[in-house]
Amino acid sequence: MSAVLRAENISYTYNPGIPGSKPAVDGVSLEIGEGEFIAVIGHTGSGKSTLIQHFNGLLRPQKGRVLFDGQDIWAKGYDLRALRFGVGLVFQYPEYQLFEETVYKDIAFGPTNMSLSEQEIHRRVLDAAGFVGAGQYLDSSPFELSGGEKRRVAIAGVLAMEPRVLILDEPAAGLDPRGKKAAFELIKNYHESKGATVIVVSHSMEDVAEYAKRVIVINRGQVFCDGSVPEVFKRARELSDIGLSIPAVTSILLRLKEGCPELNASCYDITSAADAIAAVMKERGAALC
């Protein structure tokens, strides 16, 4: 697996020089492989948003380097705009960035900036709108939509650029459970159909456990731990010390596992947990008889 994005020991402080300012990102080194589905987790103010803004060149690290396809993005003559077409970033509450008269035009903003042909822009807008299920309101004004619908349109605006790396900052914040699920499903669809690398920022493990293959936990601007979902969940106690919790189901399974080691504890929803427990009971029951 080759690394698309690499952060080498990056640090960033807002308002350096003002007494009392602490680094928001503090010596982070990461390697993001092509085609990965990664969740970045951390509690409020841990520096997640600051970190991901380094990946498409919105913030310049005060220390360290960021590499895209092995090239330093802050080297002289590097085309930052081209980088932003390759690394799509959906901001926290992206619905507030809509500005065009129609949804269609707003989604087309990114592709138009890429100077694509008319047909290609048209294809991408329809494609992205289809992805997020915004096909039926392409001709309405984005300001007439509900909050959740606006969110979808804003995400489509980034998807239409068909970035190789898609980064989303809290895409499910403020959505109801069904809206949350829909948001993650569409991200997963994009990941699978385009083979894109996806990084999702969240402060809730519950939301991402099902989808992400790798979890990076950020605490006070530093990487606290980085690994597969089960690996990270094994450190439940340390995670709760830094203000994060693992899904309730998983923590029950982990407790049960202490008494019966063969239990499969990497389940994040009730149905699969029940299946895992049933499997163990069946095995034990058979052995008892």
Partner: protein, 270 residues
Amino acid sequence: MLKDITIGQYIYGSSPIHRMDPMLKLIFVIAYVVLLFSASTTAGIVGAVAFSLIIYKISGIPIKLIAKSLKPIVPVVVFTAVINMFFIPGDPLITIWKLTISRQGLFYAVILSFRITCLISASSLLTYTTSPIQLTDAIERLLSPLKKLKMPVHELAMMMSIALRFIPSLIEETDKIMSAQKSRGASLDSGKLREKVKALVPVLVPLFVSAFRRADELALAMECRCYRGGEGRTRLHESHFSSVDAFGTAVLVLMFGYVIATNCLFEAVI
């Protein structure tokens, strides 16, 4: 880049200057400016400058911040000083080509630079040690006699404090929207003027939308708390004439006495 704007930047503190009654502070700054421009002897000016240095020392505001607030006016000071230097007639000192610098001109230039510098640092000290809310409160109290003339003083002060309150929020919002549109490939900092203006649309539209949304929400929230203007409204922080205020008044009166005395005793330099 937008974050570097510092309008009315309040530095939290608990020095006597911070604790002084905001309205009195406002009056003192105005009085100090009068003092600065009425001092016409070297001793008087030196005294006024020393006074502002001492006040700064007491306030505990870092010297770096004063330098920062003075930086934008350096060109103005230099320009005024140079113009005055050449155009005030008097005993010639140096002659360059057709321009003559007189002794009086040089003196006047130096004194004028001191006056402008002190004026700016005194007013920045006011904003450094007084929160915007306190300041608008002070303005409201200062202008309250005008209520008799049917001037909507309270409403004006309220508008001012709301505007001040929202400056940082709007700056932050602008920053965020700019980042978001840059992520979609908007080029906000290159190209010709026409393109630049066009590139502002994706930033300005969401900014206006959110400003109006905020205004709506704020109006609703104020209405929910039964806000109906200044009529019969009492204050959360009643101000009392404290010992700090009394001391400050005494010191300022003494300063006036000193300047008047020097003006009478010594020969005026300007």
